[in-house]
C-alpha cells in the first residue's frame, strides 16, 4: 500500500469522477482542495509515477465503437490445463484469460469484429480441445461507476 496524505486521498477520490470538458477542467477541483492548478497537477503526476493511478483520461467503451465481445468459460481437466490454455491463448481473439476457483476453471473474453466471429472462434476452440465452451454474452449492464475509496 502506498502512503498517501489527505489531499492525495481526496484527489484520488475526486479524479474518479468525470472531468468537465472545460478550457480549465482542473480549476474547480484545485480551488476546492485549496491548491493551485499546477500544485494539483504535480500531485497527479506523482500519483501516476508511483503507480497509484495507472492512467488519467477518457475511458473508452470498445463495444460502443463496434465489435463484439463475449465472456466464455470452460471446465478444463487439471491434467490438460496447460495444453488447453496454450490452445485457447493462441487465438488473437482471446483478449484476457483467468484461471478461477470453480468447476468452470478457465474464463476468457473473446473480442471480435463481428458477432459471427465470436461463434466461429468459440466453435473452433471446441473443435481444437474437444471441450465445451460456455458462452456468457452480456445481456444487460448494471453499471453506475466504480470508485476506489482512497
Amino acid at each position: 500500500m502506498t502512503a498517501l496524505d489527505d489531499i492525495d486521498r481526496a484527489l484520488v477520490n475526486a479524479l474518479q469522477d468525470d472531468l468537465p470538458l472545460d478550457h480549465r477542467p482542473f480549476a474547480p477541483l484545485a480551488e476546492k482542495l485549496g491548491l493551485t492548478e499546477e500544485a494539483l497537477l504535480d500531485r497527479v503526476r506523482a500519483l501516476r509515477a508511483s503507480g497509484v493511478l495507472t492512467r488519467f483520461g477518457p475511458f473508452f467503451d470498445a463495444a460502443a465503437m463496434g465489435g463484439a465481445f463475449c465472456l466464455c468459460a470452460m471446465n478444463v481437466p487439471a491434467d490438460r490445463f496447460e495444453e488447453v490454455n496454450d490452445k485457447v491463448n493462441a487465438h488473437p481473439e482471446v483478449a484476457h484469460n483467468y484461471e478461477r476457483s470453480h468447476k468452470l476453471n478457465m474464463w476468457f473474453v473473446l473480442a471480435c469484429e463481428t458477432p459471427e466471429g465470436i461463434a466461429d472462434t468459440a466453435d473452433l476452440i471446441e473443435d481444437e480441445t474437444g471441450l465445451p465452451v460456455f458462452r456468457f454474452p452480456k445481456l444487460q449492464e448494471f453499471y453506475i461507476g466504480f470508485r476506489v475509496a482512497a
Partner: protein, 162 residues
C-alpha cells in the same frame, strides 16, 4: 455511433491519457489541428453515445490495498432482475455488473458482479451486502476468485477503417 477519421485520431491521441496540463483539451486540439471547441464538441458527442464513459483517473486497486477480487455470481428471479440489478451496480465496491444467460444445468447464474476488497474476508463481507439486498429474489450464488492471470492484452484499436 459511427466513428469518423477525426474521431479515430482523437481516440488514438487519448488512448494513453490526457496531458496533465491546466488546459489539456487545448493542447490535444492543437496537436490534432482542431479548434478546442471542435475537440470538446466531439468528445461530448462520444460521451453522449457511450463511446467515452467518462474522463477520469484509473486507480491501481493493488496500490490502494484492494488486493482481493471475487467474481460473485447470482441466480436471481428474472421477474425482479431489472429492479435489483441497478442497485447492485450502484454499490461502491462493485466494478462491473451484468446480466448474462444461464447455461443450465451447469450454470444457474444470471447476474455477475465483480467485488473488490482488501482481503477475501472483506470480499465476503461485501458479498453479504448483496445477499441482503437481493432478499427473497436470491435463489443461489457463488464466488469465483481468480487464481492466475493466463493472458492479458489491452484494447487494440485497428488503425484503419471507420
Amino acid at each position: 455511433m459511427t466513428i469518423d477519421a477525426t474521431d479515430r485520431a482523437i481516440i488514438e491521441a487519448l488512448q494513453s491519457g490526457l496531458p496533465l496540463v491546466p488546459a489539456p483539451y487545448a493542447e490535444v486540439a492543437e496537436k490534432l489541428g482542431l479548434s478546442e471547441s471542435d475537440l470538446t464538441a466531439r468528445l461530448a458527442a462520444m460521451k453522449e453515445s457511450g463511446v467515452i464513459r467518462r474522463i477520469a483517473a484509473a486507480p491501481n486497486h493493488y496500490k490502494l490495498g484492494m488486493t482481493a477480487n471475487g467474481m460473485t455470481v447470482w441466480d436471481v428471479d428474472d421477474a425482479v432482475l431489472n429492479e435489483v440489478g441497478p442497485k447492485i451496480g450502484a454499490l461502491p465496491f462493485v466494478t462491473h455488473s451484468y446480466e448474462r444467460p444461464r447455461a443450465l444445468p451447469d450454470w444457474p447464474y444470471n447476474l455477475f458482479a465483480m467485488v473488490h476488497g482488501s482481503s477475501r474476508e472483506e470480499v465476503e463481507e461485501k458479498r453479504q451486502q448483496i445477499v441482503d439486498l437481493l432478499g427473497d429474489a436470491l435463489r443461489g450464488s457463488d464466488t469465483l476468485y481468480s487464481t492466475r492471470i493466463l493472458k492479458k492484452t489491452g484494447l487494440r484499436l485497428r488503425k484503419k477503417g471507420g
